[in-house]
Amino acid sequence: MTEELVTMAHGGGGTRMRELLEEVVFPLLGEPLLMEAEDAAALTMPGERVAFTTDSFVVKPLFFPGGDIGKLAVCGTVNDLAMRGARPLYLTLGLILEEGLPFSVLEEVLRSCAEWSREAGVGIVTGDTKVVEKGMADGMYVNTAGIGVIGEGREVSIKGAAPGDILLVNGFIGDHEVSVIGEREGFDLQVSVRSDCAPLGGLVEAMQEAGDLHALRDPTRGGMAAALKEMASSSGTAVELVEEELPVREEVRAVCEMLGLDPLLLANEGKLVAAVPEEEAEKILEAMRGHSLGEDSALIGKVTDGRMGEVSIMTPLGSHRLLRMPSGEQFPRIC
């Protein structure tokens, strides 16, 4: 393509758009079904129990240490499916592009989508492109849907956490949000932490081979706090965390100290928290630690029959404090 910037014409449905798809999108994504350019992809699902999810991605900046909006879109969607115990199979990719977006940015994002969908073992089989006026879409917004199959006996729900279960997490929390904060204009913080953005399908499979998973959740927006609160509420249980066992990198701790943030409220993009039966915890933990995305896995607490929906944390002194669901965006504070 000779142009360097995306224009309204590229979303117009005419020849410009055709060129965009045939010369940029299809070659970079490289998916045969996609290239058929039908109105819909016709698929045969290898099983009857299907997991179906949708998500939208509006991250700013588009590129951050450890990832970009494309990687985020693929992994985020794949992970939603994996949290149900499903094998992710197909993704859609809806792009809303800002007029004036450099083609080089679009190409970089598409390359990332291709790379990570291959890594996750999924195909991007259908999609859509729209262009909106300059000033909208922060460069680019991405919407996806994802579909996968749940094998016999593999289905997981957050409702399944039961009193006595052990809580496991697959590594350091807060990395993603801190990697993005570092890039955010104005804060002027130099961090070396990279986003933990990663596809977790393989990790979940390894865990299911090792034992029974009662509940899974990926702690994205709202962090571990939101994920655990939802798990406790949905399953009618209470959760007790052990503060000393929470894996938090020193840099993430430092940023939290500086900005007055709580690591439990920070977004993650490559983490899951699992509630597993006590007798299987050790086996599952070992399987997690043996997987590249779970090397720093930790046992962080347990599920109890306390007050429904309550999440409490035991401090190093042995006292307890309650964790509440964050009501909105976490702002840095000076007080």
Partner: protein, 76 residues
């Protein structure tokens, strides 16, 4: 109004600024409110400004005092 963290001064920069580090995170802070700061000093950082130098001798003394108190109680 009191959120401030101790950070190590790595190097002095122009315009009365300094590069500081805490736990591996680096940040430029203003030295407008403090005097005689050099690399290796620790400063208390509040909202992008150093508001005081940490007195390392006093810090040590304080820690020793705390440890005293803790040990004394073991004896009981």
């Amino acid at each position: 109004m009191c959120l401030a963290v101790p950070a190590e001064v790595l190097e002095l920069k122009e315009n009365d600024m300094a590069l500081t580090e805490l736990g591996g995170v680096r940040k430029d802070v203003s030295l407008m409110l403090v005097d005689d700061v050099k690399a290796g000093d620790y400063v208390l950082v509040h909202a992008g400004f150093a508001i005081e130098k940490i007195d390392k001798v006093e810090a040590e003394k304080t820690l020793e005092l705390f440890e005293e108190i803790a040990k004394l109680d073991e004896v009981y």
